[in-house]
Amino acid sequence: MTAEIDIRNVSKSYGPLKVIENLSLSIPAHEFVVFLGPSGCGKSTLLRMIAGLEGIDDGEILINGERVDPLPPGKRGLAMVFQSYALYPHMTVRQNMAFGLENLATPAPVIAERIAAAARMLEIDHLLDRKPGQLSGGQRQRVAIGRAVVKEPKAFLFDEPLSNLDAALRARTRIEIAQLHQRLRATMIFVTHDQIEAMTLAERIVVMNNRRIEQIGPPMEIYDQPATRFVASFVGTPQMNFFDVRGATGSQIRLDGTLSLSTRVDPIDAGRAAALGIRCEAVRVTGEGQGDADGVIDVLERLGDRALAHVRLPGGQTVIANEIAQTKLRVGDRVGLGFDGAKAHLFDAAGVALPLRSAP
């Protein structure tokens, strides 16, 4: 019952403002794809266009090869889980879950059976006769999911469903959604601004910024091979360290001061490099004078499983480096930094990543 979704050259404007421009995307059946991006990047708009809650001005949307964009939301065979759950407050959980099926003239026994099955799977069977107002946030979330599950839709659409939950609940529900996908193997589109959710749930991530798609790919590819500077900076905590490139000789890239790293960039492209990015796990804290640069520890963040050392270089820039949890470093220590140039990413003036030669 699951479907592939095809978005072709869709555009949308609000008056003179072009919100989505000539965007195309193909989602195969059974895939869990995440639309990831900051607020205002267009990810929710895109989701709502698929759902039919927003119209499109140009282009087509197809589900299983059939045009759905002229159809109203109710006729597209989709189900949506909203950020605020959008449960009908005056109906019981059971009535909430039955509502959609009743509108499709589904026979009562079928409805009852599907509700029972979904309630069992989501462990909400004891809540069926309660009203949403009597439920906790996490329970409401599961009812919202249950309401979608019973419809046996062609695809599930999730619009930032975890944003209203506290941290612990968010982590738990994340796992439940992942398990749901494994059970149902349905096509799922999940919208979020939280890159951890994207990394842990997605089979493919669509990274969006400013209403355009920056990169599409599996999580590790997004992480290890960011296509643009935006993707590199948006994914990964803490944020990647960035440096301005001062010059290049072959694959050797010169940064501020005396700092110079040997990277994997092709000498042909090296001339176009404008910025260099390196993650904190590729930066080591060494003794003073024993690394590629020296600095002073400004801030030391202890996270429990590791520590992050914010080291200020003479030029004023701060670099974040990974440290072990039990580090003896303290604020104010003068230290050195060792950079693993092989893990560095290079970007041209437009923010596009330069190709890197494969690791030895």
């Binding site: 809650l53 119209g55 499109i56 001005d57 045009r67 159809l71």
Partner: protein, 304 residues
């Protein structure tokens, strides 16, 4: 992307659920039907009528401003306008200030305050006929309540309702008794909107009760005060029931209100054209008074 064989027409689509659709207008259509037939249409018909010499059965000849000219040459009509202004001047400031006083005094959670608030509002739910019935008897000489009270002090009560100088005042008192609930409630609502920490800050600044009232409380409810005044102006301009039932517009037309005049013209003398004209004059007066009040309060320093 491989091209699909089906021809795709790329034009503006309105499949969006929120797109404008004339069928949606069906929801507002029932109400609009009554709105147009019973409000808009009569409004314009009334204006049209006011330009004709009409009675109950026929719409006579078009006479342009004839009705209006007759109105403004009619001493009784002019007197009724004057009476109405007088009445508004008597009642509106009193209602506003008294309402404010009561709201300030009764703005507490104590049992007594709650009961008294309920008391002061209770008169507003009565109909004009009951209110006038009660107060006619309060004012009546010899048997009335006022008469009994005056006798306690050893004097005779003046006959309010038959004294040209006192009749309007009597009606004003009745109206104030009847209508005090609404201004009080509006002020109470506004007072409760003032955040508590402003008062705490004032206390820390060593402000006296009076100072707090003048400098903090009153400025915060300025908007509500204007609102109350405007509402009361609009309401009291429409004086009818009290004047009709208590004094029939007398004595000597001293309590003849504009609406009374309209009633007399249109539904007793059946001079429908004149009645319509008078009602349009009233409409304009109300609109003008409310607008003036609104504008003067705006220009007098709308700092907020």
């Amino acid at each position: 992307m491989t091209a699909r064989s089906a021809p795709s027409i790329k034009r503006r689509r309105t499949a969006s659920a929120n797109a404008p659709d004339w069928r949606n207008a069906l929801f507002v259509a029932p109400y609009l039907f009554f709105f147009v037939t019973l409000l808009v249409f009569p409004l314009f018909w009334g204006i049209w009528l006011s330009f004709h010499k009409a009675d109950i059965f026929t719409n006579g000849p078009f006479i342009g401003l004839g009705n209006y000219l007759r109105l403004f040459n009619d001493a009784v009509f002019l007197q009724s306008v004057g009476n109405t202004f007088y009445f508004v001047l008597l009642t509106v400031p009193t209602l506003a200030l008294l309402g404010l006083f009561l709201a300030l005094s009764l703005n507490s959670n104590s049992r007594l305050a709650t009961i008294l608030r309920g008391l002061f509002f209770s008169s507003s739910v009565l109909s004009v006929t009951i209110v006038t019935l009660i107060w006619r008897f309060v004012f009546i000489p010899q048997y009335g309540l006022l008469s009994a009270i005056y006798k306690l002090f050893g004097s005779e009560v003046p006959s309010f309702l038959t004294d040209p100088n006192l009749a309007m005042i009597a009606i004003a008192i009745t109206t104030i008794w009847w209508c005090i609930g609404l201004p009080m409630m509006l002020f109470l609502a506004a007072l409760q909107q003032i955040p508590a920490d402003i008062y705490e800050a004032a206390a820390l600044d060593n402000a006296s009760r009076w100072r707090t009232l003048i400098s903090i409380t009153l400025p915060s409810i300025r908007r509500t005060f204007v609102l109350v005044v405007i509402i009361q102006i609009v309401m009291q301009f429409q004086l009818f029931g009290q004047a009709w039932l208590m004094t029939r517009g007398g004595p000597n037309n001293t309590t003849r209100a504009i609406v009374l005049h309209i009633y007399d013209l249109a539904f007793r003398r059946w001079d429908v054209g004149m009645g319509a004209a008078a009602s349009e004059v009233l409409f304009v007066l109300i609109l003008a008074a409310a607008t003036i009040q609104f504008l003067t309060s705006r220009s007098a320093g709308d700092r907020s």
